[in-house]
Amino acid sequence: MSKHAIHAAAYLGPEGFGNDLTGLRPWPAPLAGPFQRGELDGLHWSLFSASDPSRFLRMDLMCRLGYLAAELLDVNFDALPDASRDRLGVCVESFTGSLDTDIRFAQTPRPSIFAYTLPSTVIGEICIRFRLKGPVLSLIAPDTSGAGALTEATEWLREGGAERVLCLGLEGLNRATAEAINLPEYLRPPAWHAAALLLGHEENTPRARPLPSGSLVEVCRRSVGMPEPT
């Protein structure tokens, strides 16, 4: 039986951003401080590319995290044949879900925000961007490890439900949003991050590597060369 392999990995967090090819890069100086404090309004597409897609500007925080992490994988999904793209699953897990947008919507209901008050909306944005047809799954977890999404992704590959799986662990809550309603600490993520893995079967390509043990976030952090947390 074919073993599971990482085809690409990416990570964004307070420490920086990168993928398995580039390694971790630091944020530009004006953003590093705010990002470390959990002030995430500066998280824009323009950090990665000069051409801002108009969709990105409409997205909420969770969708931005997911979209950026998927882009940061640096995988040319468009080059996949339709048959393969139709067998590429998307699995997302989060503790925080859409809470940042939920709070903003509850404060000021606007139709353009409401569609983003679902933790699964990020799957829609990613599927539109890369023309993916699923299968799809959106999990809410009691922790921020992304372990459940990684387990599901490997099971899909083992059971034949998908040929490849884009697996995402997304956590983000603007500090100001949480503080505006005195949200209890235990309902806030301890830190923000976006971790993305493209998983598939073992392939003889330079980028493919065996899937090590560990949670989704741990695997992504290791893949970009970050040291193990002490």
């Binding site: 139709d86 998307v90 503790f95 879900g97 939920d102 709070i103 919507f105 509850a106 404060q107 209901p109 606007r110 139709p111 409401f114 569609a115 008050t117 679902l118 933790p119 699964s120 909306t121 799957i123 829609g124 944005e125 599927c127 539109i128 890369f130 023309r131 993916l132 047809k133 699923g134 299968p135 799809v136 799954l137 959106s138 999990l139 809410i140 977890a141 009691p142 459940g148 099971e155 309603i181 005195n182 949200l183 209890p184 235990y186 309902l187």
Partner: protein, 399 residues
């Protein structure tokens, strides 16, 4: 039975419900048999004004009775509804549940917003009791529900818009298939809250007169609230004659965030995936429970998807949201319970609140309930924001 079905099928061991129809399966079954609607008109704050809406509210006397019986969770309607539905499903399963040790019992919760009323209160700086605040986080609500039901096996929480319920059933079946549990309690719950009402109001998705699925003059949806619970079990734990969950499938339209694809191809893909997993052909499906929100685009898209899979004639199908409204994260579970009921009673449910079928809908749309000449396999579908689609197949095990 073919080998594909043998490999993945799991059995339905019990069901429970709380909805606008009332507390328990019995009032729901009576409403289905009578083709009755439990949608009611009520005043609600929408935006900055108070307006009259038609929706499927759980009757206040039921909420009060649940609160009186569980003071600890009185501030969390989401918990009260889910726990009541779960208790009924477990009670219906009887000895099956009792025989399985707690570490081999799993739970999967489906919800879009969990106890969202707590957020409304936090934003308005109103006092919120700790448990209601905690259960704003869906996975913590799932954990509390699992503890109350003595499920010490795997616990998951699915939140994927209006396909959450079918996804939760898919996940429950997967936990059984992977040998991680002997039984899995799948519960779906959502509330009509200020948050949810405001959202659908701002999108202009609500029909001021209440929903009319597949009607030529349909103008939007009606929200509903409540919970459904289905106990899934390894097939050999349930005595024959058994009802089996044999296939599930999901897809994404990759088209639009809040509107369905115009050609129904995404939903058709989910149906094809479910049929493939069940090892069935379209011609083996005897009845379909549609998503049927009553919005012009959704029902049109579904009609196209059904025709693309089944051709003509499409098997008999109905829309159930005229009974208890669109219950969002609970919809997939509650509507699957209606499919279980149809298989058990061999009665096809009708489409309450239908006045005149839209010609775009296949002629096999069931306006009224009727006895089924043949009812062995049922297809259930749901669609949701973000372009998500899901399908599930239930069938009567053949001797």
């Amino acid at each position: 039975m073919d080998s594909a079905v043998n490999k993945i099928a799991v059995a339905i061991a019990g069901c429970g419900a709380v909805a606008a129809t009332g507390l328990g399966l019995a009032p729901l079954q009576r409403a289905v048999a009578a083709n009755a609607s439990a949608l009611r008109r009520r005043e609600a704050v929408l935006g900055k004004t108070c307006q009259s809406i038609v929706a499927g509210f759980v009757p206040e006397e039921i909420v009060e009775s649940l609160r009186a019986a569980d003071a600890l969770h009185a501030g969390s309607r989401a918990y009260l509804f889910a726990a009541a539905a779960a208790r009924e499903a477990v009670a219906n399963a009887g000895a099956i549940w009792v025989a399985v040790p707690p570490p081999r019992r799993g739970l999967v919760l489906s919800t879009t917003k969990a106890n969202i009323e707590a957020l409304d209160q936090l934003v308005r700086q109103q006092p919120v009791v700790a448990i209601a605040q905690r259960q704003l986080q869906p996975a913590l609500l799932a954990a509390d529900l699992a503890a109350a039901c003595d499920c010490r096996g795997p616990v998951q929480c699915v939140s994927a818009a209006c396909i959450s319920g079918l996804l939760a059933l898919q996940q429950g079946a997967a936990l059984l298939r992977r040998g991680l549990a002997e039984v899995v309690l799948v519960a779906g719950v959502d509330l009509i809250s200020q948050f949810v009402l405001s959202g659908f109001h701002t999108l202009k998705s609500l029909d001021p007169d209440g929903c009319h699925p597949f009607d030529q003059a349909r103008a939007g949806l009606s929200l509903g609230e409540g919970a459904g619970a289905i106990l899934l079990a390894r097939r050999e734990l349930v005595a024959a004659p058994r009802l089996l969950l044999t296939g599930t499938g999901t897809s994404n339209d990759a088209n639009h965030l809040t509107g369905p694809s115009r050609d129904g191809s995404g939903l058709a893909l989910a149906m094809r995936r479910a049929l493939a997993q069940a090892g069935r052909l379209p011609g083996q499906i005897d009845f379909i429970n549609a998503h049927g929100t009553g919005t012009p685009f959704n029902d049109h898209m579904e009609a196209l998807a059904l025709r693309s899979i089944f051709g003509e004639p499409v098997p008999p199908f109905n829309g159930s949201k005229g009974i208890f409204g669109h219950t969002l994260g609970a919809a997939g579970v509650l509507e699957t319970i209606l499919c279980v009921n149809a298989l058990q009673t061999r009665m096809l449910p009708g489409t309450p609140r239908l006045r005149a079928r839209d010609p775009v809908a296949p002629e096999s749309l069931l306006a009224e309930p009727r006895a089924a000449a043949r009812l062995e396999r049922v297809l259930k579908v749901n669609c949701g924001f973000g372009g998500t689609n899901a399908a599930l197949i239930l069938e009567r095990e053949q001797p």
